[in-house]
Symmetry: C2
Subunit: 495 residues, 2 copies
Amino acid sequence: MASESTQTESAETKFVEDLAEKDDFAQWYQDVVYKAGLADESPVRGCMTIKPYGYALWEHMQRAMDDRIKATGHENAYFPLFIPGSFLEREAEHVEGFAPEVAVVTRAGGEELAEPLVVRPTSETVIGHMYAKWVQSYRDLPLLLNQWCNVVRWEKRTRPFLRTTEFLWQEGHTVHRTEQEAEDETLLILRQVYEDFFIKELAMPGIPGLKSESQKFPGALRTYTIEAMMGDGKALQAATSHNLGQNFARGFGIQFQDADGVVKTAWTTSWGSSTRMIGGLIMVHGDASGLRMPPRVAPIQAIIVPIWRKEAERAAVAALAGEVEAALRAAGVRVKADWREERPGFKYNDWELRGVPIRIEIGPRDAQNGQVVLVPRTDRAKKEIVGKDGVARRVPEMLAEIHQALYDAALAFRQSRTYRTSDYQELKAIMGDKERLGFVETWWCGDGACEAAIKAETGATIRCMPLEQPEGSGPCVYCGRAGEGTRWAIFGKAY
Amino acid sequence: MASESTQTESAETKFVEDLAEKDDFAQWYQDVVYKAGLADESPVRGCMTIKPYGYALWEHMQRAMDDRIKATGHENAYFPLFIPGSFLEREAEHVEGFAPEVAVVTRAGGEELAEPLVVRPTSETVIGHMYAKWVQSYRDLPLLLNQWCNVVRWEKRTRPFLRTTEFLWQEGHTVHRTEQEAEDETLLILRQVYEDFFIKELAMPGIPGLKSESQKFPGALRTYTIEAMMGDGKALQAATSHNLGQNFARGFGIQFQDADGVVKTAWTTSWGSSTRMIGGLIMVHGDASGLRMPPRVAPIQAIIVPIWRKEAERAAVAALAGEVEAALRAAGVRVKADWREERPGFKYNDWELRGVPIRIEIGPRDAQNGQVVLVPRTDRAKKEIVGKDGVARRVPEMLAEIHQALYDAALAFRQSRTYRTSDYQELKAIMGDKERLGFVETWWCGDGACEAAIKAETGATIRCMPLEQPEGSGPCVYCGRAGEGTRWAIFGKAY
């Protein structure tokens, strides 16, 4: 039994501006960001304005991430935006990595500053300075803090959410008594906080792994990452967790008197996830009609589209719409009704573009029968007619199904674009073919020279060495050598 | 019937560092901020590090404020940290007010910038630029947005929370069709958001009123304020709401086609509240023992202090403490148990310093009797013995009573330090006497010259002209004139 409520659908497509075809992925991405109302350009190069719909998404993501950070024993704090220029220099790799991309305040309050201030690109240094003051004894450890803030990195090429001059993020900074504790923390964050968040909130499968030396955070001992495959087969480093060893503790004098009375240098970690994740979820889940919001973080989980021609019909539709909206709200669903003076087809396209997981169509006949039509964003053909009393039970279920469908589709796509080969020519061919572009899993001897040559010749980098390494070993995909340093690695082109 | 659990109290005071006496109010304030662990100094002059306890307070305040902002129809968004220097100049009073205190980025990405970027001191200009793009038709209005962010003002003299180079705040920015709508919005925010927040969340009585021309926001048509009296009789401008008229709309070209087809200039408002409110609640509620946290925003609402001497006693105490903690948590109370290896008296002082509203003492005899001792921070003499099954009912009640007690005490203090006089010598004497310092309510002719003379001679400024103006009129406290422009005004010395 079909509902009349979808009759006008196809006729109205013209009301919504067309997105670029998905095979022009870069243009499609930019169209989705701007046309779905997630963000806008700003008058300052590379900065971004996050519009209400994009910011509401960020708020839901923040809440879900913050809950995990707190559930694992961390507290939030806030450290200064400005960092004395000299602080960066206390860690050699750190200054080399970040000095070229900092923004510098040289004038303030009408005067030239004696020491220029760097706008934080990340806060290991200024937080290290404070931690040296706060940590005295082993009883002060572990020190487990996080901050939500803005950071600035002067990027040459920028793209909304993915790479912007200013972005919003959380950065965790912890201090530990031993190297093992620091390593455990680094991996706890990677898996229990980040990996779990990506799977359960963003419906994004990610591969947890270790970065190679050339790709690690400047100043870290080891960097772990969650790598995700985007809809064009490229990789996105979705979040990172760093074991900083004693590098920053030495630079800033973070020492403690241990239980044995000996003064020791501490071990620190840092870890971050940012508004870049929004770019990731767009590129993983979006389709030709626009965005597909993962239900758990979607600002609007269900949109009611009322359909009527005559005024008399409107009243009956409005009564049922009001009833359904109230029932869903009571069930904890983020629901909205679209009463704009536009045709239904326009609204369908608009909310599909914006990625709302479930559309609820209510027409005059539905009102008469006390039913609604539920249309999942993931598959319009799977529409369901549900009696009004069943809506508050069925919608949350369907949201969970949509979450799973998004996850499954993303995983299936990644699997279809993941290749196991020890043939370098094959790797090269994959990286050069837009239709096949994806991840190549293979052996790497561990030599940075091979890694650099592969990058120069194919544009691919080692995205990570997965935490789950296969048994055995094999010849390096580039040089054919095998040995102690050999690791199973994932190569891909990266955002 | 007294519980044994408080026996050691007085003997242990020495374990907590003494605060400065409250008659050295400035030193007392700084002691509370640092010793209670709310904030710390930072390596950058005038910036502040907000420690976990202070930040948790801010998170609860943010949540409560954000709820009110959203409940009145506003959405959150995010705008760039950097503002092109030229933007400030588009509104004459605005640039005059803010140019002297901005921090300026002149170098970024290793190059000198062609146009220096100002770190936002407030965002009317960059938001005005975006709004000019977003607003086209009367159908786009009202536009009701808010952002939570950091801002920077290069202040000469800084004090933690009260006046810092960088601070955290929310700034609302709205666009309207008519002057009346803008005025209604300005007052809605003042009363339904800010005044309500101060009363219900911070237990702080405030006086809503209008600022004089000399005290208004640079670029505003009218500035409204909530003025609160601190524990030393000085005034704090706790939050402000500005009707910006068409000043910024003209500067940035925010225009719309009205229903009649005519293109018109819009009317805008802006309003803000910041981490400064934390300074306010400390200075309103604190006492000789330290902070007194308003219960609704207190990071810890009840602290369980277990008391035992022998190991055998510890187990029984721990069992009851665990039971009570679980029951309170289930009742939505933010509760913590202090199992540190310190004596009870040390803990009492420590949690009083940190302002936790209710202390729950559990000793061996309490464990035996299945009871606990509740001690309200507002009045230690009012301790109550409560059976364990009554705790989850009594604690929330007592929290509400403490809230009311804090509010009543703050209001009574303000009333005791508020004077009605038309005698200028009396005003002058009050402003010069630390024991009497407070608010003087009187008639002012409306002439800026009288206002300036009073400020020069007494240090007092017009804090506001209360929204509730008394009937009639009278002679100006300074010049004795009476006339059209006469207003009932509150004079005071301000933070």
